[in-house]
Protein backbone atom coordinates (compact mmCIF):
# COMPACT_ATOMS: atom_id res chain seq x y z
CA UNK A 1 0.00 0.00 0.00
CA UNK A 2 1.38 3.32 -1.10
CA UNK A 3 0.65 6.31 1.13
CA UNK A 4 -1.30 8.44 -1.30
CA UNK A 5 -1.72 11.57 0.81
CA UNK A 6 -0.71 14.82 -0.78
CA UNK A 7 -1.30 18.52 -0.42
CA UNK A 8 -1.85 21.61 -2.48
CA UNK A 9 -0.64 24.42 -0.25
CA UNK A 10 -2.54 24.09 3.02
CA UNK A 11 -5.15 21.80 1.48
CA UNK A 12 -4.37 18.27 2.59
CA UNK A 13 -5.89 15.60 0.36
CA UNK A 14 -6.22 11.87 1.04
CA UNK A 15 -5.06 11.14 -2.50
CA UNK A 16 -3.92 13.06 -5.57
CA UNK A 17 -6.83 12.35 -7.94
CA UNK A 18 -9.26 15.12 -8.83
CA UNK A 19 -11.80 15.98 -11.48
CA UNK A 20 -11.10 18.91 -13.82
CA UNK A 21 -13.08 22.09 -13.99
CA UNK A 22 -15.84 21.90 -16.57
CA UNK A 23 -15.48 18.14 -17.01
CA UNK A 24 -17.45 17.07 -13.95
CA UNK A 25 -20.12 19.77 -13.64
CA UNK A 26 -20.61 20.21 -9.90
CA UNK A 27 -20.37 16.56 -9.00
CA UNK A 28 -23.96 15.32 -8.95
CA UNK A 29 -23.89 13.47 -12.24
CA UNK A 30 -20.57 11.73 -11.57
CA UNK A 31 -21.71 10.70 -8.11
CA UNK A 32 -23.98 8.19 -9.84
CA UNK A 33 -20.84 6.36 -10.98
CA UNK A 34 -18.67 6.51 -7.84
CA UNK A 35 -18.72 8.20 -4.41
CA UNK A 36 -17.11 11.61 -4.72
CA UNK A 37 -15.46 11.12 -1.35
CA UNK A 38 -13.14 8.54 -2.93
CA UNK A 39 -11.36 11.28 -4.85
CA UNK A 40 -8.74 13.58 -3.48
CA UNK A 41 -10.83 16.52 -4.65
CA UNK A 42 -13.67 17.62 -6.88
CA UNK A 43 -12.86 20.66 -9.00
CA UNK A 44 -16.09 22.39 -9.92
CA UNK A 45 -17.07 24.12 -13.15
CA UNK A 46 -15.74 27.70 -13.25
CA UNK A 47 -18.40 29.93 -11.77
CA UNK A 48 -18.91 33.62 -12.47
CA UNK A 49 -20.92 36.26 -10.69
CA UNK A 50 -24.19 36.07 -12.57
CA UNK A 51 -25.99 33.14 -14.20
CA UNK A 52 -24.67 32.59 -17.74
CA UNK A 53 -26.25 30.90 -20.72
CA UNK A 54 -22.93 30.09 -22.37
CA UNK A 55 -22.42 30.10 -26.13
CA UNK A 56 -24.56 28.91 -28.99
CA UNK A 57 -24.20 25.36 -30.28
CA UNK A 58 -22.35 23.56 -31.81
CA UNK A 59 -20.15 23.70 -28.76
CA UNK A 60 -17.92 20.74 -29.50
CA UNK A 61 -16.07 18.86 -32.19
CA UNK A 62 -14.22 15.61 -31.86
CA UNK A 63 -10.55 15.69 -32.91
CA UNK A 64 -7.89 12.97 -33.07
CA UNK A 65 -7.41 11.77 -29.47
CA UNK A 66 -9.11 14.90 -28.23
CA UNK A 67 -11.92 17.33 -28.61
CA UNK A 68 -12.55 21.01 -29.05
CA UNK A 69 -15.02 22.83 -26.82
CA UNK A 70 -16.48 26.24 -26.58
CA UNK A 71 -19.03 26.23 -23.79
CA UNK A 72 -18.75 29.85 -22.76
CA UNK A 73 -18.84 29.20 -19.01
CA UNK A 74 -22.52 28.33 -18.77
CA UNK A 75 -23.49 28.26 -15.13
CA UNK A 76 -25.86 29.27 -12.37
CA UNK A 77 -23.82 32.15 -10.95
CA UNK A 78 -21.86 32.10 -7.72
CA UNK A 79 -24.74 32.70 -5.31
CA UNK A 80 -26.74 29.70 -6.48
CA UNK A 81 -23.51 27.68 -6.51
CA UNK A 82 -22.65 28.59 -2.92
CA UNK A 83 -26.19 27.97 -1.79
CA UNK A 84 -26.93 24.69 -3.56
CA UNK A 85 -23.78 23.01 -4.75
CA UNK A 86 -21.23 23.56 -2.01
CA UNK A 87 -23.37 22.16 0.82
CA UNK A 88 -24.33 19.19 -1.30
CA UNK A 89 -20.68 18.46 -2.08
CA UNK A 90 -19.79 18.79 1.58
CA UNK A 91 -22.55 16.37 2.50
CA UNK A 92 -21.04 13.84 0.05
CA UNK A 93 -17.75 14.04 1.91
CA UNK A 94 -16.05 15.60 -1.11
CA UNK A 95 -13.18 18.03 -0.82
CA UNK A 96 -14.17 20.82 -3.15
CA UNK A 97 -11.80 22.98 -5.14
CA UNK A 98 -13.95 25.85 -6.36
CA UNK A 99 -13.03 27.19 -9.78
CA UNK A 100 -13.90 30.84 -10.24
CA UNK A 101 -13.80 33.04 -13.31
CA UNK A 102 -14.35 36.68 -14.13
CA UNK A 103 -14.58 39.14 -16.98
CA UNK A 104 -12.85 41.83 -14.95
CA UNK A 105 -10.53 42.08 -11.98
CA UNK A 106 -13.48 43.25 -9.99
CA UNK A 107 -15.54 40.21 -10.88
CA UNK A 108 -12.76 37.90 -9.66
CA UNK A 109 -12.75 39.79 -6.37
CA UNK A 110 -16.51 39.66 -5.91
CA UNK A 111 -16.85 36.00 -6.87
CA UNK A 112 -14.00 35.10 -4.51
CA UNK A 113 -15.67 37.08 -1.78
CA UNK A 114 -18.95 35.20 -2.22
CA UNK A 115 -17.09 31.89 -2.12
CA UNK A 116 -15.37 33.09 1.02
CA UNK A 117 -18.81 33.42 2.57
CA UNK A 118 -19.52 29.72 2.14
CA UNK A 119 -19.90 27.57 5.26
CA UNK A 120 -16.56 26.78 6.89
CA UNK A 121 -14.96 23.60 5.64
CA UNK A 122 -16.92 23.47 2.41
CA UNK A 123 -14.09 24.93 0.31
CA UNK A 124 -10.77 23.06 0.21
CA UNK A 125 -9.17 25.49 -2.22
CA UNK A 126 -10.04 28.02 -4.88
CA UNK A 127 -8.80 27.66 -8.44
CA UNK A 128 -8.68 30.90 -10.37
CA UNK A 129 -9.43 30.29 -14.04
CA UNK A 130 -7.65 33.16 -15.75
CA UNK A 131 -8.29 31.92 -19.29
CA UNK A 132 -11.10 34.45 -19.63
CA UNK A 133 -11.26 37.51 -21.84
CA UNK A 134 -10.91 40.77 -19.94
CA UNK A 135 -13.86 42.89 -21.03
CA UNK A 136 -12.04 45.96 -19.77
CA UNK A 137 -8.96 45.35 -21.91
CA UNK A 138 -10.15 44.61 -25.44
CA UNK A 139 -11.03 41.07 -24.54
CA UNK A 140 -7.39 40.09 -23.96
CA UNK A 141 -7.16 36.87 -22.02
CA UNK A 142 -5.85 37.39 -18.48
CA UNK A 143 -3.68 34.27 -18.67
CA UNK A 144 -1.74 35.64 -21.65
CA UNK A 145 -0.23 38.60 -19.84
CA UNK A 146 1.74 38.41 -16.60
CA UNK A 147 0.34 41.67 -15.22
CA UNK A 148 -3.29 40.81 -15.95
CA UNK A 149 -2.84 37.29 -14.66
CA UNK A 150 -1.30 38.58 -11.46
CA UNK A 151 -4.04 41.14 -10.97
CA UNK A 152 -6.80 38.53 -11.27
CA UNK A 153 -5.03 36.18 -8.87
CA UNK A 154 -4.37 38.97 -6.41
CA UNK A 155 -8.00 40.06 -6.47
CA UNK A 156 -9.11 36.56 -5.58
CA UNK A 157 -6.37 36.03 -3.01
CA UNK A 158 -7.24 39.22 -1.14
CA UNK A 159 -10.93 38.36 -0.97
CA UNK A 160 -10.32 34.94 0.51
CA UNK A 161 -9.49 33.72 4.00
CA UNK A 162 -5.71 33.11 4.06
CA UNK A 163 -6.48 29.56 5.21
CA UNK A 164 -7.97 28.77 1.80
CA UNK A 165 -5.21 28.07 -0.73
CA UNK A 166 -5.51 29.74 -4.11
CA UNK A 167 -4.42 27.95 -7.28
CA UNK A 168 -3.91 29.93 -10.48
CA UNK A 169 -4.91 27.95 -13.57
CA UNK A 170 -2.55 28.69 -16.43
CA UNK A 171 -3.04 28.61 -20.15
CA UNK A 172 -0.43 26.87 -22.32
CA UNK A 173 -1.05 29.38 -25.12
CA UNK A 174 1.82 31.65 -24.14
CA UNK A 175 5.39 32.10 -25.29
CA UNK A 176 6.80 31.67 -21.80
CA UNK A 177 4.66 29.95 -19.18
CA UNK A 178 7.29 30.31 -16.47
CA UNK A 179 6.94 34.10 -16.54
CA UNK A 180 3.19 33.84 -16.06
CA UNK A 181 3.66 31.28 -13.30
CA UNK A 182 6.08 33.55 -11.46
CA UNK A 183 3.71 36.49 -11.78
CA UNK A 184 0.85 34.48 -10.30
CA UNK A 185 2.95 33.21 -7.42
CA UNK A 186 4.17 36.74 -6.82
CA UNK A 187 0.53 37.83 -6.64
CA UNK A 188 -0.17 35.35 -3.89
CA UNK A 189 -1.05 32.09 -5.62
CA UNK A 190 -0.32 29.18 -3.28
CA UNK A 191 -0.20 26.77 -6.18
CA UNK A 192 -0.74 26.43 -9.91
CA UNK A 193 -3.08 24.34 -12.03
CA UNK A 194 -1.71 23.39 -15.43
CA UNK A 195 -2.89 23.28 -18.13
CA UNK A 196 -6.07 24.76 -19.47
CA UNK A 197 -7.03 23.86 -23.04
CA UNK A 198 -4.93 24.73 -26.10
CA UNK A 199 -6.57 27.16 -28.51
CA UNK A 200 -7.67 25.27 -31.60
CA UNK A 201 -10.17 25.19 -34.40
CA UNK A 202 -12.00 22.70 -36.58
CA UNK A 203 -13.62 23.51 -39.88
CA UNK A 204 -16.69 21.51 -40.81
CA UNK A 205 -15.96 20.17 -44.29
CA UNK A 206 -19.67 19.71 -44.86
CA UNK A 207 -20.83 23.26 -44.17
CA UNK A 208 -17.42 24.75 -45.13
CA UNK A 209 -17.57 26.86 -41.98
CA UNK A 210 -16.07 26.70 -38.50
CA UNK A 211 -17.46 23.66 -36.69
CA UNK A 212 -18.04 25.58 -33.46
CA UNK A 213 -20.45 28.46 -33.12
CA UNK A 214 -17.69 30.16 -31.13
CA UNK A 215 -15.31 29.69 -34.11
CA UNK A 216 -12.23 28.77 -32.04
CA UNK A 217 -12.31 26.50 -29.01
CA UNK A 218 -10.21 24.75 -26.45
CA UNK A 219 -8.40 21.56 -27.39
CA UNK A 220 -8.27 18.93 -24.65
CA UNK A 221 -7.74 15.22 -24.17
CA UNK A 222 -4.79 12.84 -24.63
CA UNK A 223 -3.70 14.77 -27.73
CA UNK A 224 -2.41 17.60 -25.50
CA UNK A 225 -0.87 15.49 -22.76
CA UNK A 226 2.70 16.10 -23.97
CA UNK A 227 2.04 19.84 -23.74
CA UNK A 228 0.81 19.49 -20.15
CA UNK A 229 3.84 17.42 -19.16
CA UNK A 230 6.14 20.01 -20.71
CA UNK A 231 4.47 22.95 -18.95
CA UNK A 232 4.53 21.19 -15.59
CA UNK A 233 8.17 20.22 -16.14
CA UNK A 234 9.23 23.78 -17.01
CA UNK A 235 7.39 25.40 -14.12
CA UNK A 236 8.42 22.80 -11.56
CA UNK A 237 12.04 23.24 -12.64
CA UNK A 238 11.76 27.00 -12.15
CA UNK A 239 9.57 26.99 -9.02
CA UNK A 240 10.18 23.66 -7.29
CA UNK A 241 8.40 24.67 -4.08
CA UNK A 242 5.12 25.68 -5.68
CA UNK A 243 2.59 22.84 -5.68
CA UNK A 244 1.05 22.00 -9.04
CA UNK A 245 -2.32 20.47 -9.82
CA UNK A 246 -1.58 18.74 -13.13
CA UNK A 247 -4.24 18.40 -15.81
CA UNK A 248 -4.20 17.62 -19.49
CA UNK A 249 -4.94 14.42 -21.35
CA UNK A 250 -4.73 11.97 -18.49
CA UNK A 251 -6.34 8.68 -19.48
CA UNK A 252 -4.47 6.06 -17.45
CA UNK A 253 -2.53 5.73 -14.23
CA UNK A 254 0.70 5.84 -16.23
CA UNK A 255 -0.40 9.12 -17.84
CA UNK A 256 -1.04 10.54 -14.38
CA UNK A 257 2.35 9.27 -13.29
CA UNK A 258 4.00 11.23 -16.12
CA UNK A 259 2.47 14.46 -14.81
CA UNK A 260 3.52 13.56 -11.27
CA UNK A 261 7.09 12.74 -12.25
CA UNK A 262 7.22 16.08 -14.07
CA UNK A 263 6.21 17.87 -10.89
CA UNK A 264 2.47 17.64 -10.21
CA UNK A 265 1.38 17.16 -6.57
CA UNK A 266 -2.10 16.15 -7.68
CA UNK A 267 -3.73 15.24 -11.00
CA UNK A 268 -7.09 16.06 -12.55
CA UNK A 269 -8.84 13.88 -15.10
CA UNK A 270 -10.82 16.03 -17.51
CA UNK A 271 -12.01 15.08 -20.97
CA UNK A 272 -11.39 11.39 -20.44
CA UNK A 273 -14.38 11.39 -18.07
CA UNK A 274 -16.53 11.79 -21.16
CA UNK A 275 -15.04 8.58 -22.50
CA UNK A 276 -15.13 6.77 -19.16
CA UNK A 277 -17.26 8.25 -16.37
CA UNK A 278 -15.44 6.20 -13.77
CA UNK A 279 -12.01 7.26 -15.03
CA UNK A 280 -11.05 9.29 -11.93
CA UNK A 281 -11.30 6.29 -9.60
CA UNK A 282 -9.82 3.94 -12.19
CA UNK A 283 -6.85 6.24 -12.75
CA UNK A 284 -6.38 6.52 -9.00
CA UNK A 285 -6.23 2.74 -8.70
CA UNK A 286 -3.86 2.44 -11.64
CA UNK A 287 -1.63 5.21 -10.29
CA UNK A 288 -1.49 3.50 -6.93
CA UNK A 289 -0.45 0.23 -8.52
CA UNK A 290 2.10 1.91 -10.78
CA UNK A 291 3.71 3.61 -7.78
CA UNK A 292 3.76 0.37 -5.87
CA UNK A 293 5.37 -1.56 -8.73
CA UNK A 294 8.06 1.09 -8.94
CA UNK A 295 8.82 0.84 -5.26
CA UNK A 296 7.45 4.20 -4.10
CA UNK A 297 6.16 4.03 -0.55
CA UNK A 298 4.72 7.51 -0.55
CA UNK A 299 3.08 9.32 -3.42
CA UNK A 300 4.86 12.56 -2.53
CA UNK A 301 8.23 10.95 -3.20
CA UNK A 302 7.28 10.61 -6.87
CA UNK A 303 6.41 14.29 -7.30
CA UNK A 304 9.01 15.79 -9.64
CA UNK A 305 11.07 12.60 -9.52
CA UNK A 306 12.02 12.83 -13.21
CA UNK A 307 13.91 16.03 -12.44
CA UNK A 308 15.91 14.30 -9.77
CA UNK A 309 17.18 11.43 -11.84
CA UNK A 310 17.75 13.87 -14.65
CA UNK A 311 19.87 16.24 -12.58
CA UNK A 312 21.89 13.37 -11.16
CA UNK A 313 22.73 12.09 -14.60
CA UNK A 314 23.54 15.34 -16.31
CA UNK A 315 24.69 17.69 -13.56
Amino acid sequence: MVDLRTSLGSAVLPNPLATASGCAANGRELSRFFPLSELGAVVTKSVMLAPRSGRATPRMAETPSGMLNSIGLQGPGVDAFVEHDLPWLQAQGARTIVSIAGGSIDEYAVVADRVNGAPPGSVAAVEVNISCPNVEDRGLVFACDPMAAAAAVQAARRALDPAIPVLAKLSPDVTDIVTIARACVGAGADGLTMINTVLGMVIDTGTLRPALAGVTGGLSGPAIRPVAVRCIWQVHAALPDVPILGVGGVRTGLDALQLVLAGASAVSVGTVVFNDPSAPVRVLRELHDALEERGFERFVDAVGYAHRSFEQEYA
Partner: protein
Protein backbone atom coordinates in the same frame (compact mmCIF):
# COMPACT_ATOMS: atom_id res chain seq x y z
CA UNK B 1 -38.75 -0.85 -7.18
CA UNK B 2 -36.49 -1.33 -10.15
CA UNK B 3 -32.98 0.09 -9.81
CA UNK B 4 -32.61 3.40 -11.62
CA UNK B 5 -29.89 5.70 -12.90
CA UNK B 6 -27.14 4.87 -15.33
CA UNK B 7 -24.36 2.37 -14.83
CA UNK B 8 -21.17 1.68 -16.76
CA UNK B 9 -20.54 -1.90 -17.82
CA UNK B 10 -18.13 -3.68 -20.08
CA UNK B 11 -20.58 -5.11 -22.56
CA UNK B 12 -20.16 -7.49 -25.42
CA UNK B 13 -21.52 -7.59 -28.93
CA UNK B 14 -23.89 -10.51 -29.40
CA UNK B 15 -24.90 -9.82 -32.98
CA UNK B 16 -24.89 -7.22 -35.74
CA UNK B 17 -27.58 -7.64 -38.38
CA UNK B 18 -28.20 -5.50 -41.43
CA UNK B 19 -31.78 -4.21 -41.63
CA UNK B 20 -32.33 -2.08 -44.71
CA UNK B 21 -29.94 0.85 -44.48
CA UNK B 22 -29.35 0.20 -40.78
CA UNK B 23 -27.63 -2.19 -38.44
CA UNK B 24 -29.48 -3.87 -35.61
CA UNK B 25 -26.95 -4.42 -32.85
CA UNK B 26 -27.58 -6.58 -29.80
CA UNK B 27 -25.32 -5.98 -26.84
CA UNK B 28 -24.86 -7.96 -23.68
CA UNK B 29 -24.87 -5.32 -20.94
CA UNK B 30 -25.50 -6.78 -17.50
CA UNK B 31 -27.59 -4.61 -15.22
CA UNK B 32 -28.63 -2.04 -17.78
CA UNK B 33 -31.86 -3.59 -19.06
CA UNK B 34 -33.68 -3.58 -15.72
CA UNK B 35 -33.21 0.17 -15.49
CA UNK B 36 -34.46 1.04 -18.96
CA UNK B 37 -37.67 2.95 -19.64
CA UNK B 38 -38.90 3.94 -23.11
CA UNK B 39 -36.95 6.92 -24.46
CA UNK B 40 -33.73 6.16 -22.60
CA UNK B 41 -30.50 5.96 -24.56
CA UNK B 42 -27.08 4.35 -24.19
CA UNK B 43 -23.65 5.85 -24.84
CA UNK B 44 -21.08 3.49 -26.32
CA UNK B 45 -17.31 3.85 -26.41
CA UNK B 46 -16.01 3.29 -29.95
CA UNK B 47 -12.82 2.24 -31.68
CA UNK B 48 -11.33 -0.14 -29.16
CA UNK B 49 -8.49 0.34 -26.72
CA UNK B 50 -6.18 2.38 -28.90
CA UNK B 51 -8.95 4.45 -30.44
CA UNK B 52 -8.35 8.05 -31.40
CA UNK B 53 -12.09 8.64 -30.93
CA UNK B 54 -12.54 9.80 -27.39
CA UNK B 55 -16.23 10.59 -27.35
CA UNK B 56 -18.99 8.08 -26.88
CA UNK B 57 -21.72 7.64 -29.45
CA UNK B 58 -25.35 7.79 -28.27
CA UNK B 59 -28.14 5.49 -29.41
CA UNK B 60 -31.79 5.19 -28.53
CA UNK B 61 -32.62 1.88 -26.92
CA UNK B 62 -34.70 -0.20 -29.28
CA UNK B 63 -35.27 -3.09 -26.90
CA UNK B 64 -33.94 -4.08 -23.49
CA UNK B 65 -34.33 -7.55 -22.06
CA UNK B 66 -33.53 -8.35 -18.48
CA UNK B 67 -32.56 -11.89 -19.24
CA UNK B 68 -32.30 -13.50 -22.58
CA UNK B 69 -30.27 -16.65 -23.05
CA UNK B 70 -27.15 -14.60 -22.34
CA UNK B 71 -28.24 -12.30 -19.52
CA UNK B 72 -29.37 -8.71 -19.85
CA UNK B 73 -29.29 -7.36 -23.37
CA UNK B 74 -29.77 -3.98 -24.98
CA UNK B 75 -30.57 -3.54 -28.66
CA UNK B 76 -29.97 -0.51 -30.82
CA UNK B 77 -30.53 0.41 -34.45
CA UNK B 78 -27.73 2.36 -36.00
CA UNK B 79 -26.95 4.17 -39.20
CA UNK B 80 -23.26 3.79 -40.12
CA UNK B 81 -22.62 7.38 -40.82
CA UNK B 82 -19.16 8.38 -39.63
CA UNK B 83 -16.12 6.58 -38.21
CA UNK B 84 -17.65 5.73 -34.83
CA UNK B 85 -20.88 4.25 -36.10
CA UNK B 86 -18.99 2.45 -38.89
CA UNK B 87 -16.73 0.90 -36.29
CA UNK B 88 -19.76 -0.36 -34.36
CA UNK B 89 -21.35 -1.70 -37.51
CA UNK B 90 -18.15 -3.63 -38.20
CA UNK B 91 -18.06 -5.27 -34.77
CA UNK B 92 -18.24 -9.01 -34.54
CA UNK B 93 -19.79 -11.28 -31.92
CA UNK B 94 -17.81 -11.26 -28.65
CA UNK B 95 -16.13 -7.92 -29.35
CA UNK B 96 -16.13 -5.90 -26.12
CA UNK B 97 -18.01 -2.58 -26.06
CA UNK B 98 -18.15 -0.33 -23.02
CA UNK B 99 -21.75 0.70 -22.33
CA UNK B 100 -23.04 3.59 -20.23
CA UNK B 101 -26.77 3.66 -19.67
CA UNK B 102 -29.60 4.02 -19.45
CA UNK B 103 -29.27 7.76 -19.90
CA UNK B 104 -31.62 10.68 -20.21
CA UNK B 105 -35.18 11.46 -19.25
CA UNK B 106 -37.60 8.94 -20.78
CA UNK B 107 -40.98 9.63 -22.39
CA UNK B 108 -43.66 10.72 -19.92
CA UNK B 109 -46.54 8.26 -19.96
CA UNK B 110 -50.16 9.38 -19.56
CA UNK B 111 -51.68 8.50 -16.21
CA UNK B 112 -54.98 7.50 -17.76
CA UNK B 113 -55.66 5.61 -20.97
CA UNK B 114 -55.24 8.02 -23.87
CA UNK B 115 -54.97 7.93 -27.62
CA UNK B 116 -51.30 8.08 -28.50
CA UNK B 117 -49.76 8.61 -31.92
CA UNK B 118 -46.13 7.52 -32.24
CA UNK B 119 -44.03 9.11 -34.97
CA UNK B 120 -40.59 7.90 -36.01
CA UNK B 121 -38.28 9.40 -38.60
CA UNK B 122 -35.68 6.99 -39.97
CA UNK B 123 -33.96 5.09 -37.14
CA UNK B 124 -35.96 7.37 -34.83
CA UNK B 125 -38.62 4.68 -34.77
CA UNK B 126 -36.31 2.51 -32.64
CA UNK B 127 -37.47 3.72 -29.20
CA UNK B 128 -41.16 3.68 -30.16
CA UNK B 129 -41.73 -0.06 -29.92
CA UNK B 130 -41.06 -0.39 -26.22
CA UNK B 131 -42.99 2.83 -25.75
CA UNK B 132 -45.96 1.28 -27.54
CA UNK B 133 -45.81 -1.74 -25.25
CA UNK B 134 -45.81 0.48 -22.17
CA UNK B 135 -48.69 2.56 -23.50
CA UNK B 136 -50.77 -0.44 -24.41
CA UNK B 137 -50.16 -1.91 -20.99
CA UNK B 138 -51.84 1.21 -19.66
CA UNK B 139 -54.79 0.75 -21.95
CA UNK B 140 -53.80 3.42 -24.44
CA UNK B 141 -54.68 3.37 -28.10
CA UNK B 142 -51.54 3.41 -30.27
CA UNK B 143 -51.25 4.59 -33.86
CA UNK B 144 -47.92 4.72 -35.62
CA UNK B 145 -46.53 6.97 -38.34
CA UNK B 146 -43.15 6.11 -39.83
CA UNK B 147 -41.30 8.35 -42.26
CA UNK B 148 -37.94 8.26 -43.99
CA UNK B 149 -36.11 9.36 -47.10
CA UNK B 150 -36.65 6.03 -48.79
CA UNK B 151 -37.96 2.57 -48.04
CA UNK B 152 -34.60 1.18 -46.87
CA UNK B 153 -34.45 3.91 -44.23
CA UNK B 154 -37.70 2.89 -42.60
CA UNK B 155 -37.22 0.74 -39.56
CA UNK B 156 -39.79 -1.65 -38.10
CA UNK B 157 -42.82 -1.27 -40.37
CA UNK B 158 -43.93 -4.86 -39.81
CA UNK B 159 -43.27 -4.71 -36.09
CA UNK B 160 -45.32 -1.54 -35.93
CA UNK B 161 -48.33 -3.28 -37.45
CA UNK B 162 -48.37 -5.81 -34.64
CA UNK B 163 -48.48 -3.24 -31.90
CA UNK B 164 -50.76 -0.54 -33.21
CA UNK B 165 -54.23 0.29 -34.37
CA UNK B 166 -52.86 1.73 -37.61
CA UNK B 167 -49.57 2.30 -39.34
CA UNK B 168 -49.04 5.11 -41.82
CA UNK B 169 -45.83 5.25 -43.83
CA UNK B 170 -44.30 8.17 -45.69
CA UNK B 171 -41.14 8.36 -47.78
CA UNK B 172 -39.59 11.41 -49.39
CA UNK B 173 -39.16 9.53 -52.67
CA UNK B 174 -42.45 7.65 -52.52
CA UNK B 175 -40.69 4.26 -52.51
CA UNK B 176 -43.17 3.12 -49.83
CA UNK B 177 -46.39 4.63 -48.55
CA UNK B 178 -47.31 8.25 -48.97
CA UNK B 179 -44.77 10.34 -50.88
CA UNK B 180 -43.88 13.20 -48.57
CA UNK B 181 -43.31 14.00 -44.92
CA UNK B 182 -44.88 12.62 -41.76
CA UNK B 183 -46.40 16.02 -41.08
CA UNK B 184 -48.42 15.70 -44.31
CA UNK B 185 -50.34 12.76 -42.89
CA UNK B 186 -50.45 13.74 -39.21
CA UNK B 187 -53.63 15.84 -39.28
CA UNK B 188 -55.57 12.92 -40.76
CA UNK B 189 -54.15 10.49 -38.20
CA UNK B 190 -54.90 12.91 -35.37
CA UNK B 191 -58.49 13.20 -36.62
CA UNK B 192 -58.93 9.47 -37.13
CA UNK B 193 -57.39 8.47 -33.80
CA UNK B 194 -58.62 11.46 -31.84
CA UNK B 195 -55.04 11.76 -30.63
CA UNK B 196 -54.33 13.07 -27.14
CA UNK B 197 -50.54 12.81 -27.20
CA UNK B 198 -48.05 12.49 -29.99
CA UNK B 199 -44.66 10.88 -29.23
CA UNK B 200 -41.88 11.46 -31.71
CA UNK B 201 -38.23 10.70 -32.38
CA UNK B 202 -36.33 11.68 -35.48
CA UNK B 203 -34.43 14.50 -37.11
CA UNK B 204 -34.69 17.95 -35.57
CA UNK B 205 -36.47 19.39 -38.60
CA UNK B 206 -39.16 16.73 -38.32
CA UNK B 207 -39.61 17.29 -34.60
CA UNK B 208 -39.95 20.99 -35.15
CA UNK B 209 -42.57 20.66 -37.87
CA UNK B 210 -44.38 18.00 -35.88
CA UNK B 211 -44.45 20.15 -32.74
CA UNK B 212 -46.12 22.90 -34.74
CA UNK B 213 -48.73 20.58 -36.20
CA UNK B 214 -49.41 19.10 -32.77
CA UNK B 215 -49.80 22.54 -31.20
CA UNK B 216 -52.15 23.59 -34.00
CA UNK B 217 -54.32 20.53 -33.30
CA UNK B 218 -54.20 20.86 -29.54
CA UNK B 219 -52.29 17.61 -29.22
CA UNK B 220 -49.59 17.32 -26.52
CA UNK B 221 -46.17 16.41 -27.96
CA UNK B 222 -43.35 14.46 -26.39
CA UNK B 223 -40.29 14.62 -28.63
CA UNK B 224 -36.89 12.98 -28.31
CA UNK B 225 -34.24 15.31 -29.74
CA UNK B 226 -30.78 14.47 -31.09
CA UNK B 227 -28.10 17.02 -30.28
CA UNK B 228 -24.35 16.43 -30.58
CA UNK B 229 -23.21 15.14 -27.19
CA UNK B 230 -19.68 14.95 -25.85
CA UNK B 231 -20.42 13.14 -22.58
CA UNK B 232 -24.05 11.98 -22.58
CA UNK B 233 -24.08 12.03 -18.77
CA UNK B 234 -24.67 15.70 -18.04
CA UNK B 235 -21.22 17.00 -17.16
CA UNK B 236 -19.95 18.82 -20.26
CA UNK B 237 -22.73 21.24 -21.33
CA UNK B 238 -22.24 20.67 -25.06
CA UNK B 239 -25.72 19.29 -25.80
CA UNK B 240 -27.85 22.25 -24.82
CA UNK B 241 -30.80 23.82 -26.55
CA UNK B 242 -33.12 26.68 -25.57
CA UNK B 243 -36.10 25.36 -23.63
CA UNK B 244 -38.84 27.32 -21.90
CA UNK B 245 -39.41 26.22 -18.35
CA UNK B 246 -42.69 26.00 -16.41
CA UNK B 247 -41.80 29.44 -15.04
CA UNK B 248 -41.79 30.88 -18.56
CA UNK B 249 -38.03 31.44 -18.46
CA UNK B 250 -35.88 30.17 -21.33
CA UNK B 251 -32.77 28.29 -20.32
CA UNK B 252 -30.01 26.51 -22.24
CA UNK B 253 -30.88 23.00 -21.12
CA UNK B 254 -28.92 19.76 -21.48
CA UNK B 255 -30.57 17.38 -23.89
CA UNK B 256 -28.71 14.41 -22.40
CA UNK B 257 -30.07 14.84 -18.91
CA UNK B 258 -33.16 17.06 -18.93
CA UNK B 259 -33.81 15.49 -22.37
CA UNK B 260 -33.63 13.87 -24.82
CA UNK B 261 -37.42 13.89 -24.37
CA UNK B 262 -39.00 17.34 -24.10
CA UNK B 263 -42.49 18.65 -24.41
CA UNK B 264 -42.70 19.81 -28.03
CA UNK B 265 -43.95 23.27 -27.17
CA UNK B 266 -41.21 23.88 -24.59
CA UNK B 267 -38.41 23.76 -27.18
CA UNK B 268 -37.69 27.04 -28.92
CA UNK B 269 -37.20 25.38 -32.28
CA UNK B 270 -36.50 28.52 -34.25
CA UNK B 271 -33.74 29.41 -31.82
CA UNK B 272 -31.97 26.04 -31.67
CA UNK B 273 -28.31 26.72 -32.46
CA UNK B 274 -28.48 30.17 -30.94
CA UNK B 275 -28.76 31.69 -27.48
CA UNK B 276 -31.96 33.73 -27.59
CA UNK B 277 -31.39 37.19 -26.09
CA UNK B 278 -34.14 36.60 -23.52
CA UNK B 279 -32.50 33.37 -22.33
CA UNK B 280 -31.42 33.27 -18.69
CA UNK B 281 -27.84 34.53 -18.52
CA UNK B 282 -27.65 35.44 -22.21
CA UNK B 283 -24.74 37.71 -23.11
CA UNK B 284 -25.64 41.37 -22.85
CA UNK B 285 -25.97 43.15 -26.18
CA UNK B 286 -22.68 44.65 -27.37
CA UNK B 287 -21.96 47.95 -25.66
CA UNK B 288 -23.44 46.70 -22.40
CA UNK B 289 -21.25 45.82 -19.51
Amino acid sequence: MAPSGPIQVRGEVLSVRRVGAYFHVTLLAQGVAERVRPGHFVALAVGGESSSMLLRRSFSIYRAQERGVYGGTVEIVLAAHGPGTSWLAGCRPHDPVDVVGPLGTPFALPKDPASCTLVGGGYGSAPLFSLADALRARGCRVDVVLGAGSEDRLFGVLDAKRISQSVTVTTDDGSLGHRGRVTDVLPAVFARADTDVVYACGPMAMLRALSEVAAAHGVAAQVAVEEAMACGIGVCMTCVLPVVGDDGVTRMVRSCTEGPVFRGESVRWADVGTVPPDCLGAPLPAGGH
